[in-house]
Symmetry: C2
C-alpha cells in the first residue's frame, strides 16, 4: 500500500565506520521473524536523542533519557519490536535495565552505556527472558553492512523497510550518513511511533550533536503526521562515531556544522516522508505547505489542522474535491484574528496547479473538474497562503482509507 516507496537496495545503504548491527529472532511478536536488533558503536562515538513528549513515556524511553544524561559514552543500542514496554511500571524499568545488562556483558561496557528501545503493544509485560536468550545470537551476527536488514528488523505495521544513505565531503574528507526508521501509526509531531536512527562517521562535539538532533527532528520527523496520535515510545537518535579523519565539528564552526546538518536533514526528511508514504492504509502522499504566517508555530498549527482532519483525509482518499473541508480545517487552527478574506489555497499534482480558494472564497476560476483532476494522482500538494506574514512550513501526511480502520481494528490479531 505504500505510496511510491520501495525497499532500499541494500547495496545503496552504506556502512558507517564504527557501527555494527546484529539481529535475532527473539519470538516476541511471533516466531520466525527478526524482532531484535543490536547496534554496537565504536569507542569514542557520541550519541544524542530526542524522545516522545507523551506523559506515559515508555520504560525504555525513561531509561534512555537517564543513560544519556549520565554522560557515559553510549556503546550499544537494543531495539525490540512486538512489545512497547509501556504502562509496565517498575517492572518495565527493571526489564529494560535487564536487557541493557545482558548487552553490556556481551559488549564489555557498563549498563548505562546501553540504550534500550521498544515498539509494539502497550500495557503488556516485556518478555525480557526472550530478549535475554536472543541477545547472544544478535551479538554473534554483528557486522557493518547490515543496515538494510536492520531497517527490516524494526518494522511493525510498516509494509516497506526504510533506509537511506548519503555521503558528503567535509574539508576533503568523505563522510557517510546512513539512517533507518520505522513508522507507521500514532504519527504526529513530538513525535511518531517512530524509531529512527541516523549515524555518521563524522567527528562531532557532544554539545553540537545535541543541538543538531533537535534541529533535524524539527524539520523532519516532527513534520510528519498520520493520525495525530503521539506514541509513548518515539525516539530519534543521532550517532557520530568520529571515525572519519577530520577535525571535530563544534558549535562555533557554523559552516561545517551546517554542511553536515544539511546532509543529515536530507536523510531524516527522506525517512520522515517514507513514514508518511507508508502510513497505515495510505493510498496518497500529501504535502501540506503553509505560507504567509505570522510565525512558524502558526503555520504549523494550520498545516497540522489540515493534516490531522479525518474529514480532509477521507475526502483525499476518495479523490473527492469536497474542498470546503480544507477551509474548515484552516479555520480550526486557532489562528488569532485570521482575516479569512486574505486566505488563498492551491492544490497541485506535478505541474498541474489549481487555485481553489481566493480571498477566502471559492476562486472565480475554479471548476470542479479541475479539482477532481488534480486530486486523482497519488501525490498531491496542498498550499495555503495566509496573507499575514513571511513565515511558512511544510508537513507530510497521507490519506485516511478503509484500510486505516482495518489495520487498526485488527492490529493485535
Amino acid at each position: 500500500m505504500a505510496v511510491r516507496l520501495s525497499a532500499p537496495d541494500p547495496a545503496s545503504i552504506k556502512p558507517v565506520p564504527g557501527v555494527e548491527l546484529g539481529f535475532a529472532e527473539a519470538g516476541i511478536k511471533r516466531a520466525g521473524r527478526r524482532d531484535l536488533m543490536l547496534m554496537r558503536l565504536a569507542r569514542g562515538s557520541r550519541v544524542a536523542g530526542v524522545f516522545t513528549q507523551n506523559s506515559f513515556a515508555a520504560a525504555p524511553v525513561q531509561v534512555c533519557r537517564e543513560h544519556l544524561d549520565s554522560g557515559e559514552a553510549i556503546r550499544a543500542l537494543i531495539v525490540n519490536a512486538g512489545n512497547a514496554n509501556c504502562g509496565t511500571g517498575d517492572d518495565g524499568i527493571a526489564a529494560a535495565l535487564r536487557s541493557c545488562e545482558v548487552a553490556a556483558r556481551l559488549i564489555g561496557c557498563s549498563i548505562s552505556q546501553v540504550l534500550p528501545f521498544s515498539t509494539g503493544v502497550i500495557l503488556e509485560p516485556l518478555p525480557v527472558d526472550k530478549i535475554e536468550a536472543a541477545l547472544p545470537q544478535a551479538f554473534a551476527t554483528l557486522a557493518a553492512d547490515r543496515w538494510a536488514a536492520a531497517a527490516a528488523a524494526i518494522m511493525t505495521t510498516d509494509t516497506v523497510a526504510k533506509a537511506t544513505s548519503r555521503t558528503i565531503d567535509i574539508d576533503g574528507v568523505t563522510v557517510t550518513v546512513t539512517g533507518i526508521a520505522k513508522g507507521v501509526g500514532m504519527l504526529q509531531p513530538n513525535m511518531a511511533t517512530m524509531l529512527a536512527y541516523v549515524a555518521t562517521d563524522a567527528l562531532v562535539d557532544q554539545v553540537a550533536l545535541q543541538r543538531m538532533v533537535r534541529e533535524v527532528a524539527d524539520v523532519s520527523f516532527n513534520r510528519v503526521t498520520v493520525d495525530g496520535d503521539t506514541s509513548t515510545n518515539d525516539s530519534f537518535v543521532l550517532i557520530a562515531t568520529g571515525k572519519a579523519a577530520m577535525p571535530e565539528i563544534i558549535g562555533a564552526e557554523p559552516a561545517r556544522y551546517l554542511a553536515l546538518k544539511a546532509t543529515i536533514v536530507e536523510v531524516a526528511q527522506q525517512l520522515a516522508q517514507a513514514i508518511a508514504r507508508d502510513g497505515e492504509g495510505a493510498t496518497k502522499f500529501i504535502t501540506i505547505a503553509v505560507n504567509g504566517a505570522s510565525d512558524e508555530a502558526e503555520a504549523l498549527r494550520v498545516a497540522r489542522s489540515i493534516g490531522n482532519s479525518p474529514l480532509v483525509k477521507t475526502a483525499l482518499f476518495a479523490s473527492d474535491p469536497n474542498l470546503g473541508r480544507l477551509l474548515m480545517a484552516i479555520g480550526n487552527a486557532r489562528v488569532e484574528e485570521l482575516d479569512t478574506a486574505k486566505v488563498d489555497l492551491y492544490l497541485s499534482a506535478g505541474d498541474d496547479e489549481v487555485r481553489v480558494i481566493e480571498a477566502g472564497r471559492r476562486a472565480a476560476s475554479y471548476r470542479e473538474e479541475d479539482g477532481a483532476r488534480v486530486m486523482k494522482p497519488d501525490e498531491i500538494v496542498i498550499r495555503v497562503e495566509l496573507g499575514r506574514g513571511t513565515h511558512g512550513t511544510v508537513v507530510w501526511t497521507c490519506d485516511f482509507s478503509y484500510d486505516y480502520v482495518k489495520i487498526n481494528a485488527e492490529y493485535r490479531t
Copy 2:
C-alpha cells in the same frame, strides 16, 4: 446505524406556545425532500445563541451574530440543509440577507429580526432563488405541533431525527421545553456541525437567557465529539417566548433560573448524546468520564484526547481491548507534570466494571477476557482517575468504523 436511538414519537414532542414551524421542499440538496424550515416566534420572544469558533464562520453565522447584536427582537429563523453558504464571501452574506428579507416580508418584520442558518456542503454558492421560491410554502404550513417534522427537515447525514421535550413546574406554572438538533460529522467542541434549537415558553430576561445559552452549551453540545473537526456553521439557539403566565426569570433569582436551566440542560444533553449515538458510522456510544483533575479544563483535555484519538476509536469499533491506546491518549493531553503513577482507568458496561490501569500500569487484577467482555456492548463508559485534584468532566463520543470512512469519502455523491 445509530446506537440505541430511534426517531421520537411525534406525540411526545410538545409544542411550545409562541413557536410555529413550517417546511418546504426547496430542492437544494435533491428534489422531493424537505430541506427548508421556517420557525416563527411570537412577539415578545427572546433569543440567544452560541456559534462556531471556526475562523471561517459561514455567512449565515455572521448574519446571525449581527442580527442578535442589533438588539431587535427576533421573530423568525430560517434553516436550510444541503448547502452551508460558507466560503462564499460577500455574495454569501448577500444571499443570507436575501433569504431573511423574503422571510421578513412574509412575517411582517424587519430583516434583522430574522436569523438564517445553513448546513451542508461548504464552498458552493447558496441557491438563494430556490429558498426564495420555497419560503411562501414554508410560511403557508406554519403550525405549532410540527417539531418532530422540523427535526427531520434539518437532517443531513443524520440517520435518525433528534427531538425531545420536558415540562417543569415553576411556581405552579407548567413550562414546556422542546428541542431539536442535527449532527453528525465535524463534531467537536465549540462546536459541532450541529444545529440545535431549544425553545421554552418561560419568560426569561435577555441577559439571563444569554448567560443560560452558554452555560447549557458548555455541559451539553460542547461535550460531544465525533471526529475532532469543528464546523463552520455550528449554532445553538435558545428561545424563550414568554407565553407562560409567570413572573420573569432574571439573573438575580437563582432558584428559578437554576430550575429552568436544569430542565433545558436535560433536553440539550439528550440531544447532544443523540448526536454522538448517530455519529457517522457509529456502532458504539462511548461516555468518557475524567475525574481527579486539577481543573475542569484539564479534565476536558484528557477526555477529548481520548475521544478524538483515531487509534482509540478504531479499537473500540473492533471491541479489541488494545487498551494501551487509552494510556497513549491520556499521555497526549498535555497535562503538565502528570504523575502517571497516580492514574487509574476503568471500563464499564452497565454494572460490569473492569479496572484496566492501576497506578499507571496494567492493573494486577486485569485479565484480557474481562477487557474483551466489557468492550463488546454498544454502550461503554471509560473512566479515568487522574489523582491530581477534585475536578472532572464527561464527554460523549462514538467509535470509528469503516462506515465513517465510507460516509465521508462519498458524502457529496
